[in-house]
């Protein structure tokens, strides 16, 4: 080990000036990480490619201010010097630094970090009296020169800077190393990248503004934030409280809550969240920030508002607050900012004129209610009038009411289906870029002429189940990505062998390949109402990893040997296998076979071409297998129930129903028994795999936990149930399941449904976690009543399953000499990954929900509520507020608020025939009913679970998503012959809705096309253009076709 040593004299400022001496070791063997390197640098890890025209070294100032531009994948061959990275770390904080680190780590970007300060010949000690900035620039230049010489001058190195002095000083010093302004660099080397230039201008402008503003510095709008040290000390001593800021969506101006975080809640006896009242007290914190809060004195505490309120209303009159005062505080500092990209809308023309002549700065309104308006400066305001655009927040000075930001890019037009969908995706941070060439290149090819075949080498390694086992899959109709299949057979000793076979995705997706990185980033397939965004390229998800019938596929199998009578599990083994599925069944068909209904046989394609005798024989085999499977599933289920498993519908399937009703629209509401059989087999497989990987990798296995819910969350549920005369016992999962199934009103099935969904809402979500970061008692899955659980059965659409597959494979190979742990994540990485996957899952769910809402709104948008029959529907009241009620409309699956008091202060009152009119009067709210009394003395009462008739309409809003508005038109249930029908065909209704909206979008497209044709004709007359189809049009048409295809596929 060779070492050289340098002692570095630093002057650190820690309160007062202290002279700190730190060691600094230099070495000659810092790897340069370039593919061009001729010296013997180690070449592991990421390398800078050699097919660029030059390398670019950004100065520290560029890295600090223009990192967003450097993030463009078009810019290649970037060398980040360690000096620049450290400058970012010290001056821009952790968030920016992490962004930089992720960028360097990302294999898709062609950039590296060069540790110049540890390189013997690159390091320059800081001279006496030299300013930090000068030294940094000098170091970076020196390192760039070294790098140029190290690569023997094969490529020119360009250092980009903003510092004119540096250009003067170093510009001509070394041949081959150029120092130029960043602006010039972009102009000369990337003149075609328009997006880059726009972003550059936008950043530059906002920076200038900020500078000029900080010079003015008068009239502070907000108190200054306290410095970090004081905050940290304050949090430790308990004076301040740390937490995450959550802005109330419905009263974004006034109310925000801080959810306590970590240990700070322990010492203080605070049970609830802390209320932050008003924007002054919020002190520039934005939704999602980690903030430090100081509690106000007790007599200043305020209550939260229980009344319903629309977003557009300004500050309400005081005295509106009704509930108990709760702990109230004010923000004294922001510990971590969680700013992201925001979708905003420019004000319409009339509004912008009223804002005055100051056209440079424009206040834009974010799509998300919880985000304050953002001030941006741009000259393109006119052009961006009707578009949804993305902006980023740069800063929020204490002198300004609104934060400053800059414009990034345009998403689409307001009200356009594509544009609005893009908004949803961006707001949830879902990336939907098509798979890149590098990723698709990694995939094996499979075309109809040259189909993919089993590799003979693989064949030797794997257990062959092709001829020995009857494997079949059961899936919803029209399913493309079949990732699981089942098998059952009798062994020679009379025992049964149950097998669950899962597509072997990890065989095709190597660790850290481009596809793997992309899948990890996406983490899950995202289903929207009318389309889906796959996690893996479609060659895998729909073909090679789909266990279709009568083709050979790689699989990972879990097999159990079961006792022939008691179905006790005697033995289990896990294997990589080759299977050939015999049947691809549909749920309905499988159920038919189970019930002995032979009419469904005709639907089985695989049996069609056979002659009668073999057909009969095969059919018998299949029927026996399904019957046996069901039997086993019942048995396993019963065992789990006795351990206190929650009735599934209450938890997971209920949620899954929400998930699925758009994907597989045709699943009947009443689940078939076959559903349960398949689900049970999957749960069993997941459970056993969880056990296996946990035993083998006790501190780096990925499992899924479902923590028991907090009892206080159930209070609303209990209240509601007691209104109907039911009692709900929430003490344990079993008690809850039992009492929920008892709480069933024979006259009104929606009551039970509502209660169940309330119970689901009260529970926390199931989460992935790494076993190393959690004590064993917390592994428990509350909903399924299993001590260990994971996700293993859907590797095509969940990244967690891919990780579990790798763990399982490593576990099975553990006894052999091969070192299997190299490809696994360490506990820390896994923890990070779990957090990421959990976040992505949540985002995907939000996106799905918002997409459904978007479709609902688009459906109702063009209908005239007064005349359209379909806009009137039956609703159930499920919650009471001071000025209205929350209503669930079963026919459309809509939940929404209905007001009993409008803005003029009139209350609703009921005629004798049930119809409602607005009259002056007052409202009175009780525990589970609400009474409106008019001045004339008439009164009427609504209580929980009452059925009423509501009118559905859309409240459109320019800047925000449209919302569904409900209006009570009668207090008697809506009677319609169609209602019953709709109730039954709930899901079909749903499909219609999606279809109709898609169709109308298509019509809009057609209309546009028509316009275009007309234009062409006009042009023809005017300019004598060629009539007919131009290449551009042809391409456009293909694009349209592609769009139609997506929607038709659903």
């Amino acid at each position: 080990m060779q070492r050289t040593e340098k002692v570095l004299q630093l002057r650190g400022l820690q309160g007062r000036s202290v002279r700190v001496v730190r060691e600094h070791y230099l070495r000659p063997d810092v790897p340069c990480r370039s593919a061009l390197c001729q010296a013997a640098c180690p070449r592991d890890g990421k390398l800078l490619s050699d097919d660029v025209t030059h390398y670019v070294v950004p100065d520290w100032k560029i890295v600090q201010d223009y990192l967003e531009i450097l993030e463009f994948p078009e810019l290649k061959g970037i060398i980040f010097m360690q000096t620049a990275c450290q400058a970012v770390q010290h001056q821009r904080g952790r968030r920016q630094y992490n962004k930089l680190r992720n960028l360097v780590k990302d294999a898709r970007h062609d950039c590296i970090l060069f540790a110049n300060e540890f390189q013997q010949y690159c390091y320059l000690p800081r001279e006496r009296g030299e300013s930090m900035e000068k030294w940094q620039t000098r170091s970076i230049y020196n390192a760039a020169v070294w790098y140029y010489n190290h690569c023997l001058g094969q490529l020119p190195v360009v250092m980009v800077t903003e510092d004119e002095d540096a250009i003067r000083e170093y510009g001509g010093e070394t041949e081959g190393v150029f120092v130029i302004l960043f602006k010039n660099y972009l102009d000369n080397f990337w003149p075609d990248l328009k997006a880059v230039h726009e972003l550059y201008d936008s950043i530059l402008q906002s920076r200038r503004e900020r500078e000029s503003e900080s010079q003015e510095n008068n009239g502070k709008e907000y108190p200054e934030h306290l410095p970090m040290e004081i905050l940290e000390a304050g949090i430790k001593s308990g004076r301040y409280i740390q937490g995450v800021l959550n802005v109330n969506k419905h009263r974004a101006q006034m109310e925000a809550f801080v959810r306590l975080q970590g240990a700070s809640g322990k010492e203080t006896d605070l049970q609830s969240d802390i209320l932050i009242h008003g924007t002054k007290a919020r002190n520039r914190a934005i939704h999602g920030d980690v903030v430090a809060v100081e509690l106000l004195l007790r007599h200043e505490w305020k209550g939260r508002t229980a009344s319903l309120c629309e977003n557009d209303t300004e500050e309400k009159a005081p005295g509106d607050t009704s509930s108990e005062p709760m702990p109230t505080g004010r923000v004294v500092g922001i510990i971590q900012k969680n700013w992201r990209d925001y979708v905003v809308t420019f004000p319409s023309k009339e509004e912008s004129q009223s804002q005055g002549k100051n056209a440079q700065k424009i206040l834009v309104t974010p799509w998300d209610y919880r985000i304050p308006k953002i001030r941006i400066s741009t000259q393109q305001a006119e052009a961006l009038q009707d578009c949804r655009v993305i902006v980023r927040i740069d800063s929020w000075e204490s002198t300004s009411v609104y934060p400053n930001g800059h414009f990034v890019r345009v998403l689409g037009r307001i009200g356009d289906l594509e544009g609005e969908t893009a908004v949803i995706l961006v707001e949830n941070g879902i990336s939907v870029a098509p798979f890149s060439e590098a990723q698709t290149c990694e995939m094996p090819s499979s075309t109809s002429e040259n189909p993919w075949k089993v590799n003979p080498e693989e064949e030797l390694k794997r257990t062959d189940l092709r001829n020995t086992h009857l494997v079949f899959s059961i899936d919803p109709k029209g399913c493309e990505d079949v990732d699981d299949a089942l098998s059952i057979r009798t062994l020679a000793n009379g025992n049964l062998e149950l097998g669950v076979h899962i597509a072997d995705v990890t065989h095709f997706v190597a660790v850290n390949s481009y596809t793997d990185i992309e899948a990890r980033a996406r983490a899950t397939t995202c289903y929207l109402a009318d389309r889906r965004y796959d996690m893996l390229p479609s060659i895998l998800s729909a073909d090679l990893c789909s266990l279709l019938s009568r083709v050979e596929r790689y699989a990972v199998s879990v097999m159990w040997e079961l006792d022939k009578n008691s179905y006790e599990i005697l033995r289990v083994w896990y294997n990589r296998t080759i299977i050939q599925s015999s049947y691809k069944l549909v749920y309905e068909v499988a159920q038919g076979l189970l019930d002995g209904d032979l009419s469904v046989v005709d639907d089985i394609l695989e049996l069609k071409e056979l002659d009668e005798r073999t057909r009969q024989q095969k059919l018998e085999e299949l029927v026996w297998a399904i019957g046996k499977l069901t039997d086993i599933a019942r048995h396993v289920r019963a065992k789990r129930d006795s351990c206190g498993a929650l009735e599934l519908e209450g938890v997971e399937v209920r949620v899954q129903l929400d998930d699925k009703k758009n994907i597989h629209d045709l699943i009947p509401k009443q689940p078939l028994e076959v559903h349960e059989t398949v689900a049970e087999c999957m749960i069993l497989a997941n459970h056993w795999v969880a056990k296996m990987i946990w035993e083998n990798f006790p501190h780096q296995a990925l499992l899924r936990q479902h923590p028991p819910p907090r009892q206080e969350f159930f209070s609303e549920l209990r209240e509601c149930a007691s209104a109907k005369g039911f009692s709900i016992d929430t003490r344990s999962n079993k008690a809850l399941a039992d009492s929920l199934s008892k709480a069933d009103d024979p006259l009104d099935p929606t009551v039970n449904k509502l209660l169940r969904s309330m119970a689901t809402q009260a529970m926390s979500n199931a989460l992935y976690f790494s076993t190393g970061s959690c004590p064993e008692e917390e592994f428990h899955h509350y909903g399924l009543a299993l001590d260990k659980y994971t996700h293993f059965t859907s590797p095509i659409r969940r990244y967690a399953d891919i990780v579990v597959h790798r763990l399982l494979m490593a576990a099975t190979l553990k006894d052999t000499e091969v070192d299997v742990t190299v490809n696994l994540f360490s506990n820390k990485d896994l923890e990070e990954l779990c957090r990421h996957i959990n976040n992505r899952n949540r985002a995907a769910q939000h996106a799905q929900k918002q997409s459904t809402e978007l479709f609902q709104c688009m459906y109702f948008k063009d209908k005239v509520p007064e005349t359209e029959e379909r806009c009137t529907a039956d609703g159930v009241i499920y919650s009471i507020r001071t000025n209205g009620v929350l209503v669930f409309v079963p026919r459309y699956g809509i939940k929404g608020a209905a007001y009993l008091k409008n803005k003029e202060g009139l209350v609703i009152s009921c005629q004798s025939d049930g119809s409602c009119v607005w009259k002056p009067g007052s409202l009175q709210r009780f525990q589970n009913r609400i009474t409106s009394t008019t001045v004339a003395g008439e009164s009427f009462t609504l209580s929980l679970f009452d059925h009423i008739t509501v009118k559905v309409s859309v409240q459109s809003s320019r800047c925000h998503p449209d919302t569904i508005k409900l209006e009570i038109i009668s207090n008697i249930p809506y009677k319609n012959t169609a209602t019953e029908l709709y109730q039954k065909n709930f899901h079909i209704m749903k499909t219609d809705l999606v279809k109709e909206v898609t169709r109308s979008a298509e019509e809009a497209l057609l209309a546009q096309e028509k316009n275009r044709v007309e234009v062409i004709q006009e042009e023809h007359q005017e300019y004598c253009q060629t009539k007919g189809v131009s290449l551009y049009q042809l391409l456009e048409e293909i694009r349209d076709l592609a769009l139609l295809d997506v929607s038709a596929g659903n």
Binding site: V21, R22, Q89
Partner: protein, 245 residues
Amino acid sequence: MAGLELLSDEGYRVDGRRAGELRKVRARMGVFAQADGSAYLEQGNTKALAVVYGPHEMRGSRSKALHDRALVNCQYSMATFSTGERKRRPHGDRKSSEMTLHLKQTFEAAILTQLYPRSQIDIYVQILQADGGNYCACVNAATLATIDAGIPMRDYVCACSAGFIEDTPLADLNYVEEAAGGPQVALALLPKSDQIALLEMNSRLHEDHLEQVMEAASKACKDVYAVLDQVVRDHVHEVTTLLGE
């Protein structure tokens, strides 16, 4: 500045070392003529001075004398100027007393005390500059001083610390890394026989990682041994050339 990056993705620590590398160790023996044995040792910026007296007759209370072996008497102190903030008193506080005890245990294990019954060996160590790994520097300096005094020992005692940061064991922590508060193991080893003279750990460390950390620490101790051995050889060479030509 919330949390320095102690180990970068490229595998460098704050001062430019890699995970398993030691700081520069420099040492001199025989720095005082008055003492029986003395040594000065630098481990990076941690500087320690050790002197050894003895074996000699019991001083102070004779009742403490052990009839079958020598008593090892240690004192650890830190110069008032050794830390960032000036210390109030150089020794006698809780931390120093603990360190004294640790030193005593270490050297009782290493010195062949049974050769000198009813006598006493004094080891005084002072830290002149503290930059992490104070205990280790003291042990290493005291070893050299003991050798200089000609007191028979089983083997060199070499000490080195190891920490565990970002799932990687780091050898020979400096002050910045120590202050971060991660787990830290101090190991004193008799390198030839691989026997452990003292092992101390603070903060929590998962059982599964202990082995790795121990391995890193003992590897570091052996590296220290190589350096110390060279120092002793150089010293002996120097002395013999001066004495005997």
